[in-house]
Amino acid sequence: MSDVTINPAPAIAADLGTDTLQEISPRQLAWIRFKRHRLAMVSAGFLIAMYLIATFCEFISPYNTDTRNVKAINAPPMSIHFFDREGTFHLRPFVYGYHMEVNPDTWMREYSENTEEMYPIYFFETGESYEMWSLFKAKTHLFTTREGYIHVFGTDQLGRDMFTRVFYGARISMSIGVVGVMLTLFFGVLIGGIAGYMGGIVDRGVQRIIEVLLSLPTLPFWMALSAALPVEWSSLMVYFGITIILSLFGWPGLARQVRGKFLALREEDFVMAARLLGAGRLRVIFKHMMPSFTSHIITTATLAVPGMILGETALSFLGIGLRPPVVSWGVLMQQAQNYQVIVMTPWLMIPGLFVVLTVIAFNLLGDGLRDAADPYNTGGNRD
């Protein structure tokens, strides 16, 4: 055969290990690329762990959110010990009880470890009863003590366990992020897609609306709208109300991106090729255009979640978002509003630490996804 294809770059191909690369799909390629992004991988691990904890927070927490320990008001975090004061090693970790004294000068309670009281920690142990997902009653906790108490993150001014409250708060705050982004995506993709597809007057109309919405200062509007939520609403209703308010200002940005991507994709050669093959509109959109921007949308959505979480936190912090008895990170941080907290009870700011970690993790994950998602980024040509 005279006309054999020679690979124009066999040496490069061999060096790049193309033989093993050849069969893998763009999705696998993206995964390979994503795996190399260390920070994104770590972030993904952290977020998965956080969402698991948030899902099973009743089981993971040793107490219920409103259980008070009157012996420990504003008590600091406990440390977990393996060696007792004689230096004897205990396989089962334990905590010491609090020894409380009232400072005669400041009249503040001051806590120290009471080495007389050792409370061993038991795992998968029966403790306070709770309703798992409000569906069924259970008593087993991941860890608790048989006697005494355990407050790994300390307690608040009512003697409630911070560890418990942080993870119950994670459930509300982190789910608001996801639910809010889902709503944003729904409106953004729908409206942006319609604008990009219909073009003409519809497109222009939608564009103007988007511009108006994007020019509104978000925080005052959030505040006004959430202040307008009826006081008699149940906490569940308020939760969804806040979510809708947050996504109300999220969708225009996304819709604009979707529209832009849609218009750009319409000009791609492979989309024109599909059209010239005789593919109908729906086929062109769903088979050729949609898959090309799902990766883009996933990235955008990931990067939008922290905005939602921060929005909820901000509103609740200001006292106009979720309200006690609902426990969210924002509500928890509202307790930590005054400067006394910083000096006297810094552990009340632990929810803030989780907000920061979660937001950073989402941003890093988004970065990693963005780098991995581009199928054309398959390494440069040398010439």
Partner: protein
Amino acid sequence: MADPLLEVTGLYKSFDGAAAVDNVSFTVSESETLGIVGESGSGKTTLARCVLRAIDPDQGIVRFRTSDGEWTELHDKTDDELIPLRQQMQMVFQDPFSSLNPRMTVQEILEEPLIIHGIGDRSSRRVEVLDILAKVQLDQDSLTRYPHAFSGGQRQRIGIARALILRPKLVVCDESVSALDVSVQAQIINLLEDLQEEFGLTYLFVAHDLSVVHHICDRILVMHQGRVVEQGTVQEVFENPQEDYTRLLLSAIPSPDPDEPLNPLDRKSLGL
């Protein structure tokens, strides 16, 4: 002379008021290769796309003789009415990297035209796909791979296979070999010629490289600023160009023989 397959009369297309294709008329006969040459901005690509209705012309008539021998008019059909006709006219793109959907395997890419037009069942489609794959000289293992695993020349073979699997009569090659290295370009040109012979294809070959056009085309249209300035057989146009613009184009080709020095005509003195 063979029967005509495509007749274009008075085609006009403007973008933002500027005419990209200005009153162009020509005829293409069955099994011939018509080259459309010109510089960038001459309107050659717009013309080719108007013929296939990838974009809609503003004025003019495009008539196409379908496989049952009937003439049909393409210019006033709606997009939906065109779908069945697309089986008979296809396009091979310039850029083998962007014209294949990166998220589909070769199997999916080649099978798609058959699925769209409801041809055959799963197993008969598989036979067709393997058949066309062999025709463009690609291995069977290519089927499970994605476009990124192929070199430029191989991707262009996939593009050609996708265009030919429907057994079209007319194939528009829009700068289909311009992006390829010279050795790969030679292979693809040979392939296009072999396939033309085998399937009796008619090519509308848009290119800016005059040596390639000279090699592959029977007749050529020379376009300049949206108009056809000269048309004729390749021999006529290359050996005895009638128009200054054609002479200018021909004088600008650098010969690979160092003893034939480049001596381009002067654009200004020709008044172009």
